[in-house]
């Protein structure tokens, strides 16, 4: 009897449409428990005054949000984040696009260049941060020394100067990430059918014309993905700031995630308030993504 029941269970789960649920169960379990539950909780926590001790938690409604709208440091952090997005995304995508067009073929030179450009991608921001802090630092840095040779004004101190810290951060993050964007764009270019290029060449199109009238239009689906993901990533910028300036000097490089981290886990432990800030970031990212997608979708439609 017992054995019969066992074989019934086995045959039940052996039916492909039943077995499938067992196959996806572990993944669903993890994603529900560690993505969906936290996502929903985040909205709830943002309405409380929870701190790290998690005792006497009170619902305080929208107070966290109202408080954050009045806090100058929040505005500063959001503005810095926007500044970072608006400057770094076009540079990173534009530079990778041009390089991808030059290096998409699989000859030894292009392959070698792509391999080298990818090296920063495999390094952590933590180790690169140590390297660049010293490289651009006034004490032993090589770059300030080179600058001093040109300006003859002594060795400049870039990290403590509000004018230069921000551009340095953008340089470092583009320097680290453009190799990755390049690889995606090269894969996109190579998936464009060769027949389009041949037709263009027969018509006597120049390389510039091929780039503008064939590559770019055909590349819009990939380009759309690259722009949207780079943008989302840039809105969440944290690592590069944390390991170089830590937000300074005078909060001039503090981004919103950096501020969320320091409110939640750094100096103070206002989990409720930090959650409210992360909900605000979530909304901003969603709006940015939707607007960008609408633009890139239109482009894709125009070109197909």
């Amino acid at each position: 009897m017992k054995e019969k029941k066992f074989s019934n269970i086995r045959s039940y789960w052996n039916r492909p449409n039943h077995a499938a649920y067992l196959f996806i169960a572990p993944a669903i379990f993890i994603i529900v428990l560690f993505v969906i539950v936290p996502l929903v909780s985040s909205f709830v926590i943002s309405l409380t005054d929870m701190d790290i001790f998690m005792r006497d938690i009170k619902f305080i409604g929208m107070k966290n949000f109202l408080k954050s709208f009045k806090e100058e440091r929040v505005w500063n952090a959001f503005l810095n984040t926007f500044k970072y997005v608006i400057i770094s995304v076009p540079i990173q995508v534009g530079m990778s696009l041009v390089l991808a067009f030059w290096l998409y073929q699989s000859n030894p030179f292009s392959k070698a260049m792509r391999s080298v450009y990818f090296i920063p991608v495999i390094c952590s921001f933590a180790s690169l941060g140590i390297m660049f802090k010293m490289f651009f630092g006034s004490a032993v840095g090589y770059f300030p020394y080179l600058v001093s040779l040109i300006t003859k004004n002594g060795v400049p101190s870039f990290w403590t100067d509000v004018r230069y810290a921000f551009p340095l951060i953008i340089f470092i993050s583009v320097w680290k990430k453009f190799g990755q964007t390049l690889i995606i764009l090269v894969a996109g270019i190579n998936s464009i059918s060769e027949t389009y290029y041949e037709a263009a060449r027969i018509d006597g199109a120049s390389r510039k014309q091929i780039f503008a009238y064939i590559t770019i239009p055909m590349l819009w689906p990939t380009l759309s993905f690259v722009i949207v993901t780079t943008l989302i990533g840039a809105m969440q910028v944290f690592d590069v700031v944390f390991v170089t300036t830590g937000g300074g000097p005078l909060n001039s490089t503090e981004t919103i995630v950096q501020y969320i981290y320091s409110r939640g886990f750094g100096n103070t432990y206002d989990l409720g308030y930090a959650s409210a800030l992360s909900v605000e970031l979530f909304v901003v990212i969603a709006v940015f993504t939707l607007l960008t997608r609408r633009y890139t979708d239109k482009k894709i439609e125009e070109n197909t």
């Binding site: 994603i31 030059w102 495999i122 941060g129 140590i130 090589y142 944390f242 969603a286």
Partner: protein, 274 residues
């Protein structure tokens, strides 16, 4: 004809210049980690060391618990990569090749979670692992990352590309579903496995915010989290800092030299989902 060649040379020159800009800071870092203290501080600075010393390379191991960091990073990153490749491929296989109720809706929902930025789940995740009693443990670090939407998507695309009636023959031969997956499918997807493994490995090996948040004691810190903590505090000497940064880059760099194809593939495929 001649004009084409001039622009060609210009393009190559720019590419080489970019290569130089990429390599220069690395070379400087390596050179600094072998210089004597006197030469590090000398002005004008030298680029190549006049005198080699292994002093910093040895000193860094005492200065910070580097060995512990490396061990933790290996357990965390390899653990996540291993477990998530298993779970993602099971799910990806089901979504690609099995028919069941609600399949497309569930898959759509999983894809949607790719849009959720980590920062919004960060604080509840911290509380959750704390309540489960697994904060500051390897289980607590690995479990939340044991399945990813991207991994499922990646494996699904791969399984979709396999011939249609591959499993029908096996089913007629009386192999059960798990048997089909293990005996027929797995041997076919070795390269997809390695690609996803390396992709997940690299992401977690280099990640900063997540391991920093999920660990509270020095003996649990990963390389990035440990190094980042030392940047502000103890580690102010140039030589050991450069040696530490250099050593921490080496493991993935060596792996990259041998398995470059897989590093690049994981990234290249990510663009295809757009």
């Amino acid at each position: 004809m001649k004009r084409v060649r001039v622009t060609d040379i210009l393009e190559k020159a720019i590419c080489l210049l970019v290569m130089f800009l990429v390599l220069f800071p690395f070379l400087w870092m390596v050179s600094m980690s072998f210089k004597t203290d006197a030469e590090i501080m000398s002005f004008p600075p030298t680029f190549f060391p006049k005198e080699f010393t292994m002093k910093h390379m040895i000193a860094i191991w005492d200065r910070i618990p580097l060995m512990t960091y490396i061990k933790n990073t290996v357990i965390f990153a390899v653990g996540v990569a291993f477990v998530s490749v298993m779970i993602d491929s099971l799910a990806g296989y089901a979504f690609a090749r099995m028919r069941f109720k609600g399949r497309d809706r569930i898959f759509g929902l999983i894809l949607l979670t790719m849009m959720v930025p980590f920062q919004i789940t960060m604080i509840p995740l911290y509380i959750e692992t704390y309540k489960l009693g697994i904060l500051n443990t390897f289980v607590g670090m690995i479990l939340p990352r044991a399945a990813t939407a991207y991994g499922i998507f990646f494996m699904r695309s791969f399984f979709l590309g396999l011939p249609v009636d591959l499993e029908e023959a096996a089913r007629i031969d009386g192999l059960n579903e798990l048997g089909i997956y293990l005996k027929i499918m797995l041997p076919l997807c070795k390269s997809a496995f390695i690609t996803l493994f390396i992709f997940v490995l690299m992401g977690n090996w280099n990640d900063l915010l997540y391991p920093m948040m999920m660990t509270s004691s020095t003996n649990m810190r990963t390389l990035p989290a440990g190094l980042a903590m030392f940047v502000g505090e103890g580690l102010t000497e140039v030589g050991p800092s450069m040696a530490g940064a250099f050593i921490s880059m080496l493991p993935l760099f060596v792996l990259y030299c041998f398995a470059q194809k897989y590093f690049v593939q994981g990234i290249a495929v990510s663009g295809m989902k757009g």
